[in-house]
């Protein structure tokens, strides 16, 4: 491949600028910032276009913004080049997205743009198709630049600089993939394995823990499910027991109802009997009875009050009564007066006749007594002389004392008569004054007049009493009739009227009624109790209460057994329900945990996949590296060794490239007879090695692909000393016989050395 002409309509600082190149050595010599690097970058831009390589969409290349001409509408240009003896002109507009490219075959004078396919970026692959290399690859192989600046003189820095430069040198085929593998390994490490404490290990540990937990929860769930099944069976058993209990209960209830009904019937019969017995008083109203008793009381009181009225009214209230009393008193006083006068007469007479009367009586007694005593003495004297003596003594004593008493009494009596006479006379006087007082009180002069007055008053009184009696009698008759009628309600045989009898009869009826009601009430309470009891049985639903021929004892026994079993099952169910409830709370999180487990599993799988991907990528890269070592290394190292030997004037004859542990480049040092790592060599030697490697890559590509790639160097020899530069230019001159060399430099020494060495070159003015 040979670049013949580059024309910029606009690229960076270059506007409407053309550069021409020749075959062999081309030198671009200009001071810094004169546009050498822009020219070389523009060359690649025109060859490959403005889009980023390696991506499927249209993305601007890294340099795109940097080289847009300021204030110009043109961004692009033309490049004429030669490949396999065919001349082409590639015309490009670089502005995106309206970029365009046209490839003309200069030999045939025709546009051959459409002969090249477009890639995903809508970019036609002209150079790729002609040379087989992408821009990046072409740069890696053909383009040499310093790549970095010296930053210090320390050993570490030197080493890092070396590595970087080696990479630049070997990017064409031997990209150092060791750091790539390191990055992948780091990622693998970060993910970790199942035993580590890294991300994957933690997730796995949590997963394992959770898996156990879920496993246990599932077991508990199964136990719970089993318990639920048992519960369902238990519920069924309980239902059946309840049904049986209900049946037995019904039987028992039938019997109980039967008995209750029998008792009620008995009570009803008792009630009927009671009704019959107390039929007469069933309708008795006690209040009415008491009213009747009150009437009877009233009747009695009427009678009693009337009687009392006869006595008390005349004395206390009624004047008639006083006058009657006073009149009676006057009569009495009159009589008393007369009695007193009579008595006074008698006293006078007695006083005169008293002693004679006494003596006559005494003589008759003494005579009779004496005769009787003589007789008795004679009788007893004849028969019982002692007795007669004794009797004689006794009689003598009696006679003595009695006659003495007679005489004493006679004396006393005479005194008494005198005193009595005085009393009577006094009484007569008092009597006379009272009578006078009474008569004055009634304003009458005599008892006869008082009597007349009293009679008049009595007549008036009797008239009033008559009216009262009539009223009383009427009332009493009414009471009588009413009570009689009332009594006749309870008995046909009403006794003859007698208040006491009737009262007793009323009391009797009341008592009878009370007894009846009491017994009825008792029966009612008992019946009500039975009714209540019965109603509890009736509340169980419609039952045929016919008494069967069942054995009630057996029913009862069965019922007890069934109830015991039912209670036992219910307790069992309660316990089971408790267990289920507890377990249900526990296993309620099963679903949630399963979700978490599923999430952890997925996360774990994702990490596994990522780790596997990293591992596979690492393996792939290692395999690539091994292949490179096995295939490319042996092919490349002879060229590199040859060029290095020439560059070092025969000092280093062998270059060894190991790519299995990164890029390890070693050289055979004749002084020591050992293969020494280039890290131990001077920077100058390293520069020579890098240069040798690049040339070997170009040579390798020429041998493998038959394409003579140009060597493009941008101030590459800036740090070469003169001797190395001479060697390098000599080698380049040899290379230039087959390859175009474009050497850009800001120094004159390259041109001077070439002039000294007689190397032919084409100078590109800038």
């Amino acid at each position: 491949m040979q670049i013949n002409r580059v024309y910029f309509r606009g690229f960076g600082r270059w506007t409407d600028k053309e550069f021409e190149f020749g075959e062999g050595m081309n030198v671009i010599e200009a001071p810094n910032e004169e546009g050498k690097s822009t020219l070389l970058q523009g060359l690649f831009a025109l060859l490959y276009g403005p889009k980023k390589e390696g991506v499927q969409k249209q993305v601007k290349a890294d340099w795109y913004q940097q080289y847009i001409p300021w204030g110009k509408n043109e961004y692009g240009g033309e490049v004429d080049y030669l490949v396999h003896d065919q001349s082409y002109r590639l015309v490009r507009t670089l502005f995106l997205p309206q970029d365009r490219a046209q490839l003309n075959d200069l030999n045939r004078g025709m546009d051959i743009t459409t002969e090249y396919p477009m890639d995903n970026r809508k970019e036609r692959l002209f150079i790729e198709g002609q040379v087989g290399l992408s821009c990046e690859m072409l740069k890696r192989i053909s383009f040499l630049s310093p790549g970095f600046q010296h930053r210090g003189k320390g050993e570490d820095e030197k080493q890092s600089q070396l590595i970087e430069r080696m990479k630049v040198a070997l990017q064409g085929q031997y990209l150092d993939i060791h750091p790539v593998i390191k990055v992948l390994e780091k990622q693998i490490q970060e993910i970790g394995n199942h035993k580590s404490t890294k991300k994957y290990g933690l997730i796995r540990a949590r997963y394992m823990e959770l898996e156990k937990e879920v496993h246990q929860l599932k077991i508990d769930y199964q136990i719970n499910a089993e318990n639920l099944r048992k519960l369902a069976l238990l519920a069924d058993q309980i239902d059946r027991l309840e049904a049986r209990k209900e049946k037995l209960e019904q039987d028992r209830r039938c019997d109980a109802v039967y008995r209750l009904r029998a008792k009620m019937k008995e009570l009803d019969q008792q009630r009927e009997r009671l009704d019959r017995v107390y039929q007469s008083v069933r309708s008795l109203d006690e209040r009415e009875a008491y009213q009747k008793m009150d009437l009877m009381e009233e009747l009695i009181q009427l009678e009693e009050r009337y009687a009392e009225r006869d006595v008390s009214a005349s004395v206390e209230k009624d004047a008639w009564r006083f006058i009657e009393a006073d009149m009676a008193e006057l009569i009495r006083l009159e009589e008393r007066y007369r009695e007193c006068e009579s008595h006074l007469g008698r006293i006078e007479h007695q006083r005169k006749l008293g002693l004679v009367a006494h003596r006559d009586w005494w003589l008759r007694v003494c005579m009779v007594g004496g005769i009787l005593g003589v007789v008795l003495l004679a009788v007893f004297f004849l028969g019982y002389p002692a007795m007669a003596v004794f009797l004689f003594v006794i009689l003598g004593c009696v006679f003595y004392f009695y006659s003495r008493g007679i005489f004493l009494a006679h004396a006393t009596e005479r005194g008494g008569l005198e005193r009595e006479k005085g009393h009577v006379e006094k009484e007569l006087e008092t009597n006379s004054s009272i009578q006078s007082g009474l008569l004055r009180e009634w304003s009458v002069d005599s008892l006869a007049l008082l009597y007349d007055k009293a009679s008049q008053m009595r007549r008036d009184r009797e008239d009033r009493d008559m009216i009262e009696v009539v009223n009383r009698d009427r009332r009493m008759e009414e009471i009588h009739q009413e009570v009689h009628v009332w009594l006749s309600r309870f008995s046909d045989d009403v006794p003859l009227f007698s208040p006491d009898v009737w009262m007793d009869r009323i009391r009797y009826y009341i008592q009878q009624s009370r007894e009846y009601r009491s017994q009825c009430s008792e029966l009612g309470v008992r019946r009500e109790g039975l009714q209540r009891e019965l109603s509890t049985y009736h509340s169980g639903g419609d039952i045929d209460y016919k008494r069967g021929d069942q054995d009630i004892e057996k029913i009862h026994s069965d019922y007890i057994d069934t109830e015991a079993e039912w209670i036992e099952k219910k307790e069992e169910r309660a316990k089971l329900e408790g267990r289920i409830e507890r377990t249900a709370e526990h296993v309620a999180i099963l679903s949630e945990k399963e979700t978490e487990l599923d999430r952890l599993k997925k996360e774990s799988m994702e990490l596994e996949l990522e780790r596997t991907a990293c591992e596979l990528a690492r393996e792939g890269l290692l395999e690539v590296m091994t292949e490179l070592q096995q295939n490319m290394g042996p092919l490349l190292t002879p060229y590199a060794s040859e060029y290095l030997q020439r560059l070092s004037c025969g000092r280093y004859r062998e270059l060894l490239i190991h790519v299995n542990k990164g890029i390890d480049i070693r050289v055979y040092v004749p002084e020591t007879g050992e293969n020494t790592s280039v890290y131990a060599l001077s920077r100058g030697t390293i520069d020579q090695i890098i240069f040798a490697l690049r040339l070997s890559l170009i040579r390798f590509y020429r041998d493998q692909a038959g394409v003579f790639l140009p060597v493009i160097m941008d101030d590459y020899f800036a740090h070469f000393d003169e001797m190395r530069l001479r060697s390098a230019l000599c080698l380049l001159n040899e290379f230039a016989s087959n390859h175009q060399v474009i050497l850009s430099t800001c120094h004159r020494r390259e041109r001077q050395i070439m002039d000294d060495l007689g190397i032919m070159y084409h100078r590109v003015p800038i």
Binding site: G54, V55, Q56, K57, L590, T595, K602, L609, T612, L616
Partner: protein, 384 residues
């Protein structure tokens, strides 16, 4: 003849662990509650539509996970619609087993009928309707079993959980009660209520009855494949035939958003693209945001995902996961022709993919991973 109406649903998977959930525990619990809400909505729709039947074609209560409290809740809900006959055909996720909550059937409300492992026929004279149903009695059922219809002349509905095939070729691999078109076409069913497939579909069999065969799909999304509105089927069978109408019941939707970030130069560009995409939806839904396309190798997207997650979280979405399916923008065709180490690496990894197709994903990821690192390293070198 009196028309018959129904609500057909399946695959609610109550209490199933939420899949692919990376959210907080609280949000997870809230999400679990969503499934109950959806079920309540199904009940209320059945009530509102005054449906005669509620068909639940399996995978209703997730076996091994469903809690007693959930079962209690379900029964309470069923008690709210005592006039609606509820038919449940247990599926492979809730087989009718001794250790399932369906057992014993008597423990369920009187209006609920649970089909066991064998075909059962229920006849409803007022509609001249036979419902022929069958449930799973274990986790798998490989063999098709023929139903028996004693009243073929009447209206007939089949309720079962299984996999419907139009073609026989797939049958052998199916372990979830394969139902072949040619088998069921022979029966005079008016409607076949199926469950198992989480994607809704309705087909018509080419038989005398023009049997409608329907998967209602999951009423609430369970995975990111079940995106968009989720429905139950309201059905009506009268003299005119079968009329079907979907009714939306979901509480939240799962939405998969594919954000193509190919032209994004920075993480801010990517965020703007994602936000533009998610702003088209209500924030109360759940989102799987998938980054697709090619991103610049200069962008370390794996690192930026953390920042992106933080920024998207500020949009107040109920739940989202950010998945990176975008690949670094390497032109493999370019590298494939590349003479350098990158080319060798690309060729090698592609060769591995061909040799080990089962590990293609791993090798592909490894390829991009390797190129990314190489790119970063070479870029680092060139910068220097």
């Amino acid at each position: 003849m009196k028309p018959v109406t129904w609500i057909h649903t399946a695959d609610l998977h109550l209490d199933q662990p939420i899949k692919e959930w990376y959210g907080s525990k609280e949000k997870g619990l809230e999400r679990r509650e969503d499934y109950r809400q959806t079920f309540m909505r199904i009940i209320s729709i059945a009530k509102k539509k005054n449906a005669d039947f509620l068909f639940i074609a399996g995978d209703f209560l997730e076996h091994g996970f469903v809690q007693a409290s959930t079962v209690h809740f379900v029964k309470e809900q069923f008690n709210l619609i005592p006039d609606i006959r509820i038919m449940i055909s247990p599926g492979n996720h809730d087989p009718y087993r001794m250790d399932s909550f369906y057992f014993p059937r008597e423990s369920w409300p009187a209006n609920v009928h649970i089909f066991a492992g064998e075909w059962e026929e229920l006849y409803f004279e007022e509609y001249n309707l036979t419902i022929c149903g069958k449930g799973f009695s274990d986790y798998t059922e490989k063999i098709w079993k023929e139903p028996s219809l004693t009243r073929p002349e009447g209206r007939n509905i089949m309720l079962v959980h299984g996999t419907f095939f139009f073609q026989q070729s797939h049958e052998g691999r199916c372990v979830y009660f394969p139902i072949l078109e040619k088998e069921v076409s022979r029966y005079p069913f008016d409607y076949i209520a199926l469950g198992h497939m989480h994607t809704a579909s309705v087909s018509t069999l080419n038989n005398a009855r023009q049997t409608r065969i329907c998967y209602p799909g999951s009423p609430e999304a369970l995975t990111w494949k079940e995106t968009g509105a989720r429905c139950v089927i309201y059905g009506r069978l009268d003299d005119q035939g079968v009329y079907l109408e979907p009714e939306q019941v979901h509480t939240r939707r799962y939405e998969r958003i594919e954000s193509v970030i190919s032209h994004c130069e920075s993480r801010e560009d990517i965020l703007a693209r994602v936000i533009e995409d998610i702003d088209r939806y209500e924030a109360r839904h759940c989102f799987q945001i998938v980054l697709k396309g090619r991103y610049s190798p200069q962008l370390d997207l794996n690192l930026e995902l953390f920042w992106l997650n933080q920024q998207i979280a500020q949009r107040g979405l109920f739940y989202f996961i950010l998945v990176n399916h975008a690949k670094p923008d390497f032109d493999l065709s370019f590298y494939r022709e590349h003479a350098g180490i990158e080319g060798m690496f690309v060729r090698k990894m592609e060769e591995k993919m061909r040799v080990f197709p089962e590990r293609k994903t791993q090798y592909e990821l490894a390829l991009f991973k390797g190129l990314e690192v190489i790119y970063a390293q070479s870029k680092g070198s060139s910068c220097k």
